[in-house]
Amino acid sequence: MSASADKPELTAKDFRSDQQVKWCPGCGDHSVLVQVQKVLAALGARREQTVFVSGIGCSSRFPYYMATYGFHSIHGRAPAIATGVKCANPDLDVWVVTGDGDALSIGGNHILHTIRRNIGLKIILLNNRIYGLTKGQYSPTSEFGTRTKSSPMGSIDHPIHPVSIAIGSEITFVARTVDVDVQHVQYVLRRAAAHKGTAFVEIYQNCQVYNANAYGWATDRETKGDNVVYLEHGKPLIFGKDRDKGIRLNGDVPEIVNLNQVSPDDLIIHDEKAADPSMAFRLARMLHPEYPEPLGVFRAVEKPTYEELLMGQIEAERAKRGPGRLEKLFRSGDIWEVAETGAA
């Protein structure tokens, strides 16, 4: 995050563009937009140093509403475009905003490779488990059997889970949150912004029109306490409306226990910095309704970033061979002279 002390501080409002926000009423994207604006202001981000890149989808209209630089690109390619941006100018803060279709259907491969390269992009995946913009077909995260326009008898594709995919692709930072949990969204975004390397944030997002209430269980005041568990580094996995339940490992399988019977010390203690991603993967496999679903930072580890390594090799070469000189480049290899007379 490039902040600069000698410039006036910006407010969340300063990150709002002059464009009318065109998402449906009740769409979860609204809330995320506001949180992003707040977080950027709070972190002292500069508009001119910030770039939002998106693909195509409802969620991908995001850049229009930000008073930063923005690129509303083509379907699925935002991570690749953002990679070009970051390579050309590693000083920029580059955010990618994408949807479950954009990121995981057509764009799945770019997400995978962006993640493995650990390039410094902050990726916000607005997962509404549906194709919103094209008016409601099932997406790669739609539950098995979802009935949509293109799956009138129920979808026959088994869903994938973004956090699992990210971990399988060697992610260094991955987190999950839910659109209306505004404090938590802000927390997760702040953490993502601070991460060096690829930060991947899945946000459960309500599509009011085509998949309303898909996440009611995680947002409903009544039920959410029992349905989600917040991950905190170094802390045991405790949840429940009355924080009376916990998760411990039984052999190698997570198990819900009652804190009346089990001590917090026996619970899984979350370690987002674990060198091995296996435990993070295990947490990603805790799915509603069998388990409370974990929200928060699954994993946050350090690894050299792509842009560091890229520029590092350039610097190393310059240090070793001196900055490139065309004269020398042209004359490398076997050269010969032709004199006025025509013979060497």
Binding site: Q19, R46, R47, E48, Q49, V51, V53, I56, P63, Y64, M66, Y69, G70, F71, H72, S73, I74, R77, A80, I81, A82, T83, G84, V85, K86, C87, A88, N89, D91, L92, N109, H110, L112, H113, L310, Q313, I314, A316, E317, K320, R321, G322, P323, G324, R325, L326, E327, L329, F330, R331, G333, D334, I335, W336, E337, V338, A339, G342, A343, A344
Partner: protein, 626 residues
Amino acid sequence: MGTATTNKHQAGQKPAKHIEERLQAAVRFAGDSGDGMQLVGGQFTATSAVFGNDVATFPDYPAEIRAPIGTLAGVSGFQINFASRHIYTPGDRVDVLVAMNPAALKANIRDVVEGGIVIVNSDEFDAGNLQRAQYSTNPLETDELSRYQVYKVPITQQTLAAVKETGLGPRDAGRCKNFYALGLLYWLFDRPLDPTLSWVNGKFARVPAVANANKLALEAGYAFGETAEMFAVRYQIRPAELQPGTYRNLTGNQATAIGLVTAAQLAGKPLFYGSYPITPASEILHDLSSYKNFDVRVFQAEDEIAAMAAVVGAAYAGAIATTGTSGPGMALKQEALGLGVMTELPMVIVNVQRGGPSTGLPTKTEQADLWQAVLGRNGECPVPVLAAQSPADCFWSAIEAVRVAVKYMTPVILLSDGYLANGSEPWRVPDPDRLPKIEVRHPTDPATFQPYARDEHGARPWALPGTPGLEHRVGGLEKADITGDVCYVPENHHRMTELRAQKVANVLRDIPDQEVYGDPSGELLVVSWGGTFGAVRTAIEQAREAGRSVAHVHMRWLNPMPRNLGEILSRFRRVLVCELNMGQLQLLLRGRYLVDALGLHKVQGRPFMVSDILSRIDELMGGRAS
């Protein structure tokens, strides 16, 4: 060999050893992939170039990585054309073939001119190798080769004998036989050994035994020519009248890579090259990967789409953004290229064309991506397109492509092809300080900035992220004129479509008028583009020398087309478009200028031979040029 005539050689005839002068000769080294033919080909080229000849070369790699030893699929060749005058091609046919085994003989013999010299490594003509080459009888023992001067040299044995003193094992010793063959050819063409000897010393400095062995083999080959009483004549090809200066031999891919680096330096910017490996474009990626001290940022992408998309992003953020690929990869790039057109950002896409459709003939050359380049995207999506005309010209074309891209804020497609990519020719090294800078302007004033306002060229401003106050949004949806906001207004879409087209048409201002070689008007105009320049120009020269009234227009820019082209076409009674496809430029010229252009089409994975063009001219003009 040039215009000189060759002597028929009769077996048993006592060879005389005089030196005969020639204007030009084409030599081909051919052997198994492991025989080091590319290496000695390169040495022969360098020596000839240093000697002062004009040279042009073409390697012929096998399609397999490592086909079984001794098979036809495993034959590797390298052809050098060298002359005391200006030449444009590696030569239609070869005057001297070196065949290191039966497969090499079989695969190459049909390209040898009648009466040409064939030097074979007779040691390799055993039953196994003959069978692997699909010879049922030994061609050295039948009259199959009677139309050539065949010299059977026991190259393997002689090499082993020559290098014995180095103590190398038989395998390493045998590896030197290519140098033996090279030495023999040096003798045949009266070339100095020094350049190669000093190269060997440098190259094998750390393994002196190998250096010594190669040197001994080279000298032994030379000495064999001198003493063996086998060859009737030696040939001499004098230095050519070349423009004075420093020269270096470059393949098209090397030239493209250096050209891109140079362009970025002239613009004072980092070079971004995002690419996915593909034959025959990969060497551009390889070369650029080693130019890091020029602030070259190479991104080996997961596929061509990612490469293209990253180029769009890099252009947006201010790099000289470029990519390279070949046919199938080009197809994959088109959608993201369209985004470059809509966002009006500068970038260069190099397409090193190969045989298609689909995977086609991936290691072979073709010019069948012209339509794809000019017309192959969704929507009205115009892009300037130019094509390089020779290996070294790839350097100049790359710079020109970047220059136009930046000036007009547009993607530019540069067409190369497999023939240019792998072929080489001497490049006269320019003085970098004399190359005109590429002017780049980035707006900084928020008061006057409008994302889609246009300058005198029709280009919008290149506003860089990082510039305070110019924050704006771009994207693939239609833009409002001037402001660049998303806009669905019908009239605006029409207007923007016209503005984009107009901008590409404006590139004309940077394109010189088309030159005509030969008579300014007359009977027949031959039109060509891209890598066929050499063959076509040679044919036209020869036809004109033979008294034909023909002229040649070689097009560098395919879109837009030079202002005066229509007028030129109208001055000739007939127009013939020669291209390595089924008539792609032909259609465009006909459609645009309503000229009844005829075509000469060849899709064989091979370049034109000069004779292909001459025959077609003969056909059209009647009779035969003398």
